[in-house]
Subunit: 821 residues, 2 copies
Amino acid sequence: MESRPLTHRGAMNNPLMRPPNYQALSHPTTQQQQQQPSSSANGVQGKDEEEEEDPILDSPISYNTMESAPPSNQMATNILDSEEQEFPGIGQYDDFHTIDWQRDVARDRMRHRHIIKKREDSIWDWIKSGHDAWSGWVCVFMVGVFAGAVAGTIDIGASWMSDLRFGICPEAFWFNQEQCCWSSNETFYDRDNCSNWKSWPQVFGHEPEGAGAYIISYIFYILWSLLFASLAASLVMMFAPYACGSGIPEIKTILSGFIIRGYLGKWTLLIKSLGMVLAVSAGLSLGKEGPLVHVACCIGNILSYMFPKYGRNEAKKREILSAAAAVGVSVAFGAPIGGVLFSLEEASYYFPLKTLWRSFFAALVAAFVLRSINPFGNEHLVLFYVEYSKPWIFIELLPFILLGVIGGIIGTLFIKLNIKWCRYRKTSLLGQYPRLEVVAVTLLTAFVAYPNPYTRINTSNLIYLLFSQCGVANNDSLCDYQRNFTSANTAIEIAAAGPGVLKAVWLLALALVFKCVVTVFTFGLKVPCGLFIPSLAMGAIIGRLVGIGMEQLAYHNQDWAVFAGECSTGENCITPGLYAMVGAAAVLGGVTRMTVSLVVIMFELTGGVRYIVPLMAAVMASKWIGDAFGKEGIYDAHIILNGYPFLDSKEEFSHTTLAHDVMKPGKSESFYVLTQDSMSLEDVEQLLRETDHNGFPVVVSRQSQYLVGFVARRDLNIAINQAKKNTEGIVGDSTVLFTASVPSPWMGPPPLRLRKILDLAPITITDQTPMETVVDMFRKLGLRQTLVTHNGRLLGIITKKDVLRHIKFLESEDPESVLFN
Amino acid sequence: MESRPLTHRGAMNNPLMRPPNYQALSHPTTQQQQQQPSSSANGVQGKDEEEEEDPILDSPISYNTMESAPPSNQMATNILDSEEQEFPGIGQYDDFHTIDWQRDVARDRMRHRHIIKKREDSIWDWIKSGHDAWSGWVCVFMVGVFAGAVAGTIDIGASWMSDLRFGICPEAFWFNQEQCCWSSNETFYDRDNCSNWKSWPQVFGHEPEGAGAYIISYIFYILWSLLFASLAASLVMMFAPYACGSGIPEIKTILSGFIIRGYLGKWTLLIKSLGMVLAVSAGLSLGKEGPLVHVACCIGNILSYMFPKYGRNEAKKREILSAAAAVGVSVAFGAPIGGVLFSLEEASYYFPLKTLWRSFFAALVAAFVLRSINPFGNEHLVLFYVEYSKPWIFIELLPFILLGVIGGIIGTLFIKLNIKWCRYRKTSLLGQYPRLEVVAVTLLTAFVAYPNPYTRINTSNLIYLLFSQCGVANNDSLCDYQRNFTSANTAIEIAAAGPGVLKAVWLLALALVFKCVVTVFTFGLKVPCGLFIPSLAMGAIIGRLVGIGMEQLAYHNQDWAVFAGECSTGENCITPGLYAMVGAAAVLGGVTRMTVSLVVIMFELTGGVRYIVPLMAAVMASKWIGDAFGKEGIYDAHIILNGYPFLDSKEEFSHTTLAHDVMKPGKSESFYVLTQDSMSLEDVEQLLRETDHNGFPVVVSRQSQYLVGFVARRDLNIAINQAKKNTEGIVGDSTVLFTASVPSPWMGPPPLRLRKILDLAPITITDQTPMETVVDMFRKLGLRQTLVTHNGRLLGIITKKDVLRHIKFLESEDPESVLFN
């Protein structure tokens, strides 16, 4: 065999042939770094999510970074022609476009190396390098602190405003009912009966009991609800349309490498936080847990602008956002580890281990801050701390799995109905009156919810009540068993259900139907609304009902072999609260299709480590059943509904197509390429006018079609405009050169040299590559496009949109439903 | 712009141009599937980890799979020349070689599609397709069941043999001390004082107390230890050399895509299980938790051969092995979620979400099986269930972080010393007498350990003792405080330490020094040995000491502001057991550099959900400190020591080199390529003799160097041998053809057509691609090699070994320390 031809040697040893955009793009210069502290002194508000094209930020780094290249690359630096220009603003993305992970990550590494190299120069540079090294940790720390503080504030606000619908604390109107009653210094604390707190009938001089008082309470309840809900909807409509919904589908899309400007901005943060408090207080069937993820991501995005490493690099910023998503769940449920797993399993696309550790740290900090604020007023970090006195018995696995099956079915039904309704809303007149819709749903909810005590109370309180064990202190009618407590320490005996339990069962069944129906119409309203709490509530009701059934079955059949071991002693062997917990996990699993993270969240939420096996069994059953009826969870379904370019890493691509079948141009289309040294500026501009492609391959010549590199449309536009402005003699006839050097005797007008914006290392595949490999590369490498070659010649291009359309096509769906690039 | 040239059209529409090895390789035929039940009836033993090249298994599928290809690929099937051959045995790997993930995954998808297509044909095919779809779940289920059962057996065996060193149960010698004492029906259970259990002095007629009895016990202790240890070492040396060590470094390497035949075989499984019981019983400073991961992976590997989908495909098999690693930790600690996270964070390389769910399921099943066996004899699943009566107070974060720092330092020191010793063992005479070394270490351990009660007892029991809170029932001298318990229900008051505590502190300090020293020499012995338990023990001792210090500080300074809130009530506000738990996590974190998974394991291990924040703080501190002194955890350090080709996905590559600098051939070397239609068989065979490359690129011609595809050495060898055997007229002068069709008027001897073994979709990069991108592609796509091109021409090749050597070179380490391909 012979050695490879040496003809390319000279070119290859030229350091300028390295992908120039990796060098030329957006290195913070010294000015920028010095400028940073003052702009951060202006506060977070001074930073916007809109990426202004700051010429200082985008100005290229000096070429001395090349000294760090190995010797083979140091030759021929002197051929660097001073005519070759730097083009600011290159390497950013347009709104609703997909990012190129490889390019961004490479840009960051180049920046990093630049800082490492400069570190030796001065103390100041050394400090800057230290700041840079720590900035990731500092940033996630701050995200944790702020998110914890915001979440605490939201919790306190929502609790106060929820109670406002029922009454007021005249001595200190800023107290909620619990604080008001604590401050009353009565010896025995009873939430529902304390002298300081005045219900609305009492405020207006009525007796707290009686039909009149009931009607006044009812009316106040409805009025406050309408006020809060319409306020929330108005705020969202007027100031931040992105603040509606749970935000998780969009966060998933953004994390997968998509730009939605303003989605994580300061207005969204503010309005979403306010709107969340209002919407929850309006008693709508929604939770504030999902939106807290969005809020935390807004905080992550805003804070990332304080660190140019993250703020100016979309790929790096997603590391912070992944951590922020973990923080969101951490503060929503007081579940730091569950949050990290949620980010890993559900939210994030690209999750290196470094991000795992940072997420972990941020989630810890946020949970700690929240614990210090202590909005729930108990010593546990968790929302629904439970303690059951008996372990579960083997036979109970059957009802637990049954709960999983029910959860899977309800989850799937919920997704299908909700998507149908959302699609109807999109296509019908209804979509034009979002505020009216909010008001209507609120009115209906408040009207139906008030008479039933289980729907009247806060959904969180309902879940807590359903999870808890009937002990001495619990005097809800749910715990009206025919048993006597002789002392607080004796075991709870198994007992027949009293009339209160039977009534509670009926009310709960009604509450379940109501919650199921109303949540379908609520999720998708133009207010911030999360699904976790309503799903948990539905599941908890089902679980409690099944649990009461099992308990009574065991009571009436204590001699059955399966119950004999545990129940024959007379102690209560079946804990209906545990069933509620399992049922809640099952329905939430059916709706979101989470598994491991859900189990971890559930047991962080409840402190029930001993119940991993029941939880796992129910969640697995729920996921299996759900997946059998429809693969997507609610978030994926909404992503599809909205046509976001999300390439799901969970679904497998299993078709026989090849890259050749997918690539553009197809058979009858023409392929637009640039040549490296034979096109005039006019040709290029005409091409830009005639096509709307986001980038063009550059080839050696049209005849040979051998691939040289790839240039992005945006970069090309910027470079041409800059050159026209700044360079003398650039006219329509000027040749556009992508080569490293200008041919030595140059005739005609001065050439436009654009090698700097040329990506010399585009990802290429052969036309015979199976599409499964191509999809895999898109997912794992975060590609925006790949070029297709055959025996070295360029044949076509495959973009992420092409891949998504192809998948839709193969699944017999409408490829046109993929909307963005 | 013009449309792309049409010259390649005809070729591209030819379905034969798809990478043929994706079609031609190892599809289970009907016979094979029918054969499966009988061979599995022979039992697991019938399957070996050695991949025999079963001609039936490897026979190619029929070409009707092509009907599933889209229309554009259906043309010209008739040009399929019957002379083109199928080559059995292609697509497998040699021992100590790296696998090609993309190829294996593509092979599996092809196989899957084949089954889906055939499903319509008959009921039997439909059943087979169902079996195939479920086989992943069935396989991990079985892994869970078997691993749970094996772990339970090992736990019971180790507990019995450990007690055998102290005495025997004469009535039923197969009982351990606890069971023996339970069976004695004494009213008050006291482990150390029951009439049924006879210590060795008692067996030989001595009094249980006194100097003589002490000496007899001492001698028996040493003798049994020596017997067990030498037996373990002999078993390992004779039957399964791979059974030594913890196995986790090798598992990590295997999971990253490396073949070590026999490492996960039945002999390794058997000997490792036995040896583990013996080594633990010998009282060596090692644990059985790490090796359990290896054992679970052996079970996973062996069971995967029952499912051709996994057994015959190295990439798919790694999905089962990832789940098996999770199962291993799940059964080792009774921590299913921690196990899944361990697999994700530490062990696995390629961890799709599907594997997450399966791991989760398998870990659940295994934990459940283990719970049913109940080797620890308590109702909790966990090893060290603890319950503390007081929550931690804010000021305690300081000592917790201090523990983290100490843990990080100890962990780093341990790694450095252990690696130094292991390197010395490798290079010195010592390495030639492994059995002698085991005996010597055992003798020393037993001799020093016996006099100190804290080292004499089982390490697990020591950890449990250190973790626990001093309550009424605890009568160890560690709990000798000057306090009186009035009743079991009153709070534990804070109290001054008694003389027993002071003595215990001294003994624990000695035990710590002893453990630290002896573990350095133990980890690396030729017996199965894990690090988790010794690390936890060291950390627990340190933690307990710090905890006792804090407790006494608080007792003597109850008026300090920081203690005032909690300690002034007279209750014990500082729980030394919690410090032990935090310290244990810190040292284990320092040694292994795990974070999230460690915290989850710790709180699953202890049931202490309320202590996430202290655990997280200590583990983060430990990791930061550890990473500051040396990046690698103990497992990575051992991987480097052994020269395994492990491309760490945690470390970032941050150098400026380009693909061009790394690729082979270098400047003065020659490049060996095949041409697609101009080489004779003799040329090819000469090339195979002269070089030892694992594969060769195929180009259009030597002049143009345009890349056509890539062919693996092993496949080429097999194909040539098969062709020589089976085809008439193949001589040295026969042309080797990689083209799709034979030129029409063919002269000379019949050509050897090898397009089937040609990979038409090799991953290519340009020579200007930054190495960081290349490393990223190797990691994420699981490449074995990538081809380097410039403007479509082939320039060279980069293999995984080249990448690893390059990284070593840049880090100023010896590139030659990378040993395998």
